[in-house]
């Protein structure tokens, strides 16, 4: 580590390199910030803002938005539960301290080849699942089933399952493995040593991270509404299509409220377990 630090390149060529990448990105993508200030854009923005206000909150519509927000929340919750069901076994079998048990502590070379295969398979699956974004998964599932919350739940469950698998395995590996080895020394199985010796050390951090992922799932679930997963996201998208900008604003306000509430909740959970 220290040798790498000493071999740091001088900062001037590095700054040039970053500038070159920046320039290439500008021309490559055709990104034009100056478009923001054209008469056309400013005029559109003005009309949009005028039409937004006041937000449309007819009694019936507010209630409808509330129900849709609950749909979004439920989709996120189901997705997170699916993610935990997928991620927990991946995390356990993807952590050396769990699969090798006391062998991990004593450094014994008699590690079973089968155990190693299990470990590598779990790592590989969780890398594959998380490398494809939830939105892409959802699109794939829309092709298989139909529109609705199912593709969204599966998309969140699979992508987040891969993420949880990776993070859980790291959290399990960052525990002290000697208490579990001490439990194995009493004649307990590796199964018991895991539940009694390893998991209790990591469960707080695992719960906190899961709460954070649920928070992300709420946002993701709203976004997937735009592609037909239902809920508040779909409502915003439809109002947008029909140029009912006052309804768009109401929807966005409800979404902001929902996300803020979930963030508060998730922060509380994370503080509790930190």
């Amino acid at each position: 580590m220290s040798t790498r630090r000493r071999r740091r390149r001088p900062s001037f060529p590095r700054a040039l390199l970053i500038l070159a990448i920046l320039a290439a990105s500008f021309y490559g993508t055709g990104f034009r910030p100056d478009l923001l200030l054209t008469e056309h854009a400013v005029g559109n923005a003005g009309r949009f803002l005028r039409d937004c206000w006041p937000p449309y909150l007819d009694d019936g519509y507010a209630l409808r938005l509330g129900k849709l927000a609950l749909d979004t929340l439920a989709t996120a919750f189901l997705g997170t539960v699916a993610a935990v069901l997928i991620g927990f076994p991946l995390g356990v079998f993807g952590s050396r301290s769990a699969v090798f048990g006391a062998l991990f502590v004593t450094g014994e070379a008699r590690r079973g080849r089968l155990t190693k295969l299990l470990y590598l398979t779990a790592r590989g699956i969780s890398a594959l699942l998380r490398s494809i974004p939830e939105l892409v998964w959802a699109f794939l599932f829309v092709r298989l089933f139909s529109l609705g919350p199912t593709p969204a739940v599966l998309g969140i469950g699979i992508n987040y399952g891969g993420m949880l698998g990776k993070v859980y395995s790291e959290q399990l590996e960052h525990t002290n493995p000697t208490p579990a080895a001490a439990i194995e020394a009493t004649g307990a199985s590796r199964f018991s040593a895991f539940w009694w010796g390893l998991l209790p050390q990591a469960s707080g951090a695992m719960s906190a991270y899961t709460a954070y992922r649920f928070e992300c799932a709420v946002r993701a679930s709203a976004i997937m509404g735009f592609v037909g997963a239902g809920g508040i996201g779909q409502e915003i998208q439809l109002s947008m299509q029909y140029f009912q900008f006052d309804r768009v604003l109401s929807g966005v306000l409800v979404l902001v409220l929902l996300v803020a509430l979930i963030e508060l909740l998730s922060d509380a959970v994370q503080r509790r377990f930190a």
Binding site: P179, E184, A185, G187, F191, S192
Partner: protein, 253 residues
């Protein structure tokens, strides 16, 4: 009960044990003395079936270490309780759960999970009894990482007692406590082992405590047994010489 012959164990290029031979009878109590790095912890790890020796044979009650695996190995291991030098308690679990974990070798998967979530009343009462014996019954529900060093030591002893093993190995059980506490802990260990008819091997690096509490002392130096004698045949000078130059004879021969 214990038969060790020509035990060798290396860690990479370091030889931790070089030809250790030792016999211990059932119900015996002995102190294992020697400086840090003499091989005491490695010897304990061989004795409790954590490490296999590279060479030599180890038999526990007729069971040869190199020949048992799986369930048979687990069945032997639950007859041997180890009090580890660093206690090795699970910090986020309560004292109750830590002591309970001593019995995990006897439980199947479902029972292990059930007791983790909701221990039976009988089990809690039994743990309470053991904690009273070591004098910290009031810490039953305290998380282990909130205990002091001396309290953790007592919980580690309670876990070993709760395991109900025939052999108790205690690795430096008084290294982390003050001298007065050290005496009371050794009294507790030797007395309970005697009452319950258990074999006890305690590693120490304090010569005077070994002489005071144990009828037999084995000196380990540089991975070898330097001496193995009844305490009454070992003078204070010889023990002091051992700690100075690794041999009980003044000349070092």
């Amino acid at each position: 009960m214990i038969q060790l012959q020509g035990i060798e164990r290396r860690f990479g290029s370091v030889a931790a044990l070089r030809g250790v031979a030792l016999e211990v009878q059932e119900g015996e109590q002995l102190a294992l003395v020697g400086p840090s790095g003499a091989g005491k912890t490695t010897l304990f790890n061989v004795l409790n079936f954590t490490l296999l020796p590279d060479a030599g044979t180890y038999r526990f009650d007729g069971v040869e270490a190199a020949e048992v695996q799986g369930d048979a190995r687990r069945e032997v291991r639950r007859r041997i309780a180890t009090i580890h030098q660093s206690h090795d308690l699970v910090g986020r679990l309560s004292t109750l759960k830590n002591v309970l974990s001593g019995r995990l070798g006897y439980w199947g998967r479902m029972e292990a999970l059930r007791n983790l979530v909701a221990p039976s009343r009988a089990a809690v009462a039994a743990v309470h009894g053991v904690l009273e014996r070591v004098g910290i019954a009031e810490k039953l529900d305290e998380r282990a990482d909130r205990l002091s060093g001396g309290q953790k030591q007592r919980v580690a002893i309670a876990r070993a007692l709760f395991q109900d093993a025939e052999l108790i190995l205690a690795d430096e059980p008084v290294a982390s406590v003050d001298p007065a506490r050290a005496v009371s802990l050794l009294e507790l260990l030797t007395q309970t082992a005697r009452d319950d008819g258990r074999t006890l091997i305690v590693s120490l690096h304090q010569a005077e405590l070994a002489r005071r509490f144990f009828p037999r002392i084995v000196g380990l130096h540089d991975g070898r047994v330097a001496f193995d004698r009844p305490t009454e045949e070992l003078s204070e000078d010889e023990l002091a010489a051992f700690f100075q130059n690794g041999s009980p004879s003044p000349s070092g021969l």
